[in-house]
Amino acid sequence: MRTTARRTALPHRTQRTGLAVLILLLFSPPRAARALDVPNIDGHMTDPGQTLGKGDKTAIEDKLGKVQQDTRVDVAGWILDVPESSLDKLGREAFKRWHIGGDWDNAVLFVIPRVGRAHVILDDSKRELTVPEVERVVGADKPGAPMPQRVDLVADAAAEIVRAKALRARPNGVSDLGRGRRFLLAFAVVALLAVGLSYRAKRKERAST
C-alpha cells in the first residue's frame, strides 16, 4: 500500500515541481529587464557603488540641496556601473521610480557611468533644459577624470543653467521720490542743527575751561 502510494505520488511530485519551474520561468524577468533594477534613492546623489568619499558626498548633497531650495528645481544624480548604451533606459526608470521632482516645480537627473559620458534625463512633459542646454551639461563631463570631479562638473553645469533660468527681475514698484526728498531735506536740517548745537556747546565748554 505504501509502495503503491509512493509510486503514484512520484509523478504528482514531478508535475508539481515542473509547474513551479514553469511559473518561475514565466514570472522571472528576462536578463535585459533585470538590468533595470534601480537601487533605493540616497539623497540628491545616489551612489550605490560608493565611488564618492564621505566628504564628497556631503559636499554634493549640500550643493544640490541648495540648488533645489533656490530654484525649486530638483537636480539629482546617479552614479552607476553599466554600459553607456543602457543609461537612458535606466535613468528613465529611476526618474519614475524615485519620483524625481515630484514635489518641486521641475527636475533634472544626470546619470554618470563609470565608463563613458554622462546622460541627462528630463521630465518629457515639461522639459527643464533645451537640447543645447542638455548638450552643455553632457559636455561638461570629463569621462577620464576622477568621479568626484566629474560629479562636480556636471552638477555645476546643470545648476548654473537652472539658476540662470530661475532668475527673474521683479515687477517695478512705485516710490515717491519727491516726498522722499522733502523728508531727506528735513533730516538734513535736523542734522545740521545738531552739528550747530554740538559745536556751540563745545565752544562754551572750551571757553569755560
Partner: protein, 455 residues
C-alpha cells in the same frame, strides 16, 4: 549756584591721579564727558613746540609710530575680515538669505524667489520688518559692483574693521591717561572674537547696527551729544535695536552721577531732552525719507506700526527650536549654530554663530569686577561696560522672558564690546602673565572658529 547733576562723573574723573582739573572744579554738566581727562586721548594731539616744526610727513610718521600697535591690529582685523570673503560660491550665509535677497530686489536685479514674499517689487524693500538703510547700502553696492559676494560683504568688512577701531577709541576716551593699553587689549579681543569677526564678513544688518552705534557712542563721549543723537537715529535706520545704544550712554551718565540725583541740574537735563528730541526727529524723518524711496509706506508711522506688529508676532512659546535659543543659553554658548559650513577635500569653510568661548567664560567674572570698579572707583570705562551690557541685554531678556520673543545667539553682538571693555579693565588689574595667558587663550579659541580653517 546750581550744582551740576552729573557733577559726580566729573568729580570722579577729576580725582583720578592724572587729572589736571581740581576735584571740585566740575565743568558745566553738559560737557562733563567731553571734559574728562581722557576725552580727547583718542584724537590727534595738536602740534606744539618741536612737533609744530615737523614736516607733515614726519608728523604722520611719528603719529604712525606712536599708534603703531593699533594700526597693526586694525590691519590684522581688516585682513581677517576680508580673507576669502567671496569664497563661498555664491552661497548666502545666515541671514544674508533675507537681507541680500532684499537688497537684490531693491537694486532691481534678477532674483530667485527664495526668502522673498510673492508680492516683492523691484526697487522696493520686501523686508519691511526692518528699516531699509543697511539693505539700501548693500543694494547700492550690488548696483555698483554687480551681484556678487564681494559687493554684498565689502561694507561689512569695512564696518567690522571700523568697529574694532571705535572700540579702541571709546576705551581711550573713557579711560583717561594710561588708557592706551587697556584700549588696545579691548581692540585685540574684538579683533579675534568669533561673533564680531563673522559678522564683519557677512552682509547682515547687525554689523551696520553695531558700528553706527559705536560711532554714535564715541561721538557722545567726546561731548558732541546732538551729533551723536543723529548717529543713534542712523543706527536705528539700520536696525531698531540702535535705540538701546542711546539707552546705554544715558544709563552710563546716570550711573556716574548717582550721588547727585537730589540736586539736579536742569540745564544739563534740558540738553539731554533736546538730544532725545533730535534723536526722535532724525529717526522719523530718516525713516520717512527711506520709506518714500524704498517702500510703499508714505509715512514713518505706518511703517513703525507694521514693524511693531511683526515683532510682536515674532514669538515662540515653549522650548527653543531650530536655531533659536534663550538669552540664558547665550552665556554658555548653548545656542551656537553654524551659519554656513562646507567640508570637502578641496576646502573647509565654517561660519559659526558663537562667541569666542574663552571670552564668554571670562566675561561674567570681568563684568563682576567692572561692577565693583564702577561702584567703588567710578571708573568710567568699567561703568560704561556695565551700562552697555545692561542696556543691550536687559530689554532682550525681558522681551524673551515676558513676551516670549524669539531670540538667537547673535543678538549678543552689541554686548561683545561690553565684554571687551570689561575684560580689558580686569586684565589690567591682574598680573601681566595672566593677561598674556588670556590673550593666548583668545587666539587659541579664534583658531578653532576662524571661518576658513584649512585651505
Amino acid at each position: 549756584m546750581e550744582e551740576a547733576p552729573f557733577a559726580a562723573a566729573a568729580h570722579t574723573l577729576a580725582d583720578a591721579p592724572d587729572a589736571k582739573t581740581p576735584p571740585l572744579a566740575a565743568p558745566p554738566a553738559e560737557t562733563l564727558l567731553a571734559d574728562t581727562p581722557g576725552a580727547t586721548q583718542g584724537t590727534t594731539p595738536p602740534l606744539t613746540g618741536a612737533a609744530a616744526r615737523e614736516s607733515r610727513p614726519a608728523h604722520w610718521l611719528r603719529l604712525f609710530l606712536d599708534r603703531g600697535a593699533i594700526f597693526a591690529l586694525i590691519t590684522v582685523a581688516a585682513g581677517l575680515r576680508a580673507f576669502r570673503v567671496g569664497d563661498c560660491g555664491g552661497t548666502l550665509i545666515g541671514d544674508e538669505v533675507w537681507y541680500v535677497q532684499a537688497a537684490r530686489v531693491i537694486a532691481g536685479v534678477p532674483v530667485l524667489m527664495h526668502h522673498l514674499p510673492a508680492e516683492a517689487k523691484s526697487h522696493l524693500d520686501p523686508n519691511s520688518e526692518h528699516a531699509p538703510l543697511a539693505k539700501a547700502i548693500i543694494a547700492a553696492m550690488i548696483e555698483r559692483m554687480g551681484d556678487r559676494e564681494i559687493a554684498w560683504r565689502i561694507p561689512s568688512v569695512i564696518l567690522g574693521t571700523l568697529g574694532v577701531w571705535l572700540i579702541y577709541q571709546i576705551a581711550m576716551a573713557l579711560g583717561g591717561k594710561g588708557a592706551e593699553r587697556p584700549a588696545l587689549y579691548a581692540a585685540f579681543i574684538v579683533t579675534f572674537e568669533n561673533l564680531f569677526l563673522v559678522h564683519g564678513r557677512i552682509a547682515t544688518l547687525d554689523i551696520y547696527l553695531m558700528t553706527t552705534l559705536l560711532l554714535a557712542t564715541w561721538v557722545y563721549v567726546l561731548g558732541y551729544l546732538e551729533v551723536a543723537a543723529v548717529l543713534f537715529a542712523v543706527s536705528c535706520l539700520c536696525k531698531a535695536n540702535g535705540v538701546l545704544g542711546l539707552g546705554a550712554v544715558l544709563l552710563y551718565e546716570a550711573l556716574m552721577a548717582r550721588d547727585r540725583w537730589r540736586h539736579p541740574n536742569f540745564r544739563a537735563i534740558g540738553r539731554r531732552a533736546v538730544v532725545l528730541g533730535i534723536f526722535v526727529a532724525a529717526f522719523l524723518l530718516g525713516l520717512g525719507a527711506l520709506d518714500c524711496f524704498f517702500t510703499e509706506y508714505r509715512s514713518p508711522f505706518a511703517h513703525l506700526a507694521h514693524m511693531r506688529q511683526y515683532h510682536q508676532g515674532f514669538k515662540h512659546v515653549g522650548k527653543p527650536s531650530g536655531f533659536e535659543s534663550t538669552p540664558l543659553d547665550w552665556w554658555l554658548n548653548a545656542g551656537a549654530f553654524d551659519y554656513y559650513s562646507l567640508w570637502s577635500p578641496k576646502k573647509n569653510l565654517l561660519y559659526k554663530a558663537a562667541i569666542n568661548f574663552y571670552v564668554l567664560a571670562a566675561a561674567p567674572l570681568a563684568l563682576a569686577f567692572a561692577v565693583r570698579k564702577a561702584w567703588n572707583e567710578r571708573s568710567p570705562l568699567a561703568t560704561f561696560a556695565v551700562a552697555s551690557l545692561f542696556a543691550n541685554f536687559a530689554p532682550i531678556f525681558v522681551a524673551w522672558a515676558v513676551f516670549s520673543r524669539t531670540s538667537y545667539i547673535y543678538y549678543m553682538l552689541p554686548i561683545v564690546p561690553a565684554f571687551a571693555w570689561a575684560l580689558a579693565v580686569a586684565a589690567y588689574a591682574v598680573p601681566r602673565s595672566m593677561r598674556w595667558a588670556f590673550a593666548a587663550m583668545v587666539l587659541y579659541a579664534f583658531a578653532f572658529s576662524f571661518p576658513v580653517r584649512l585651505f
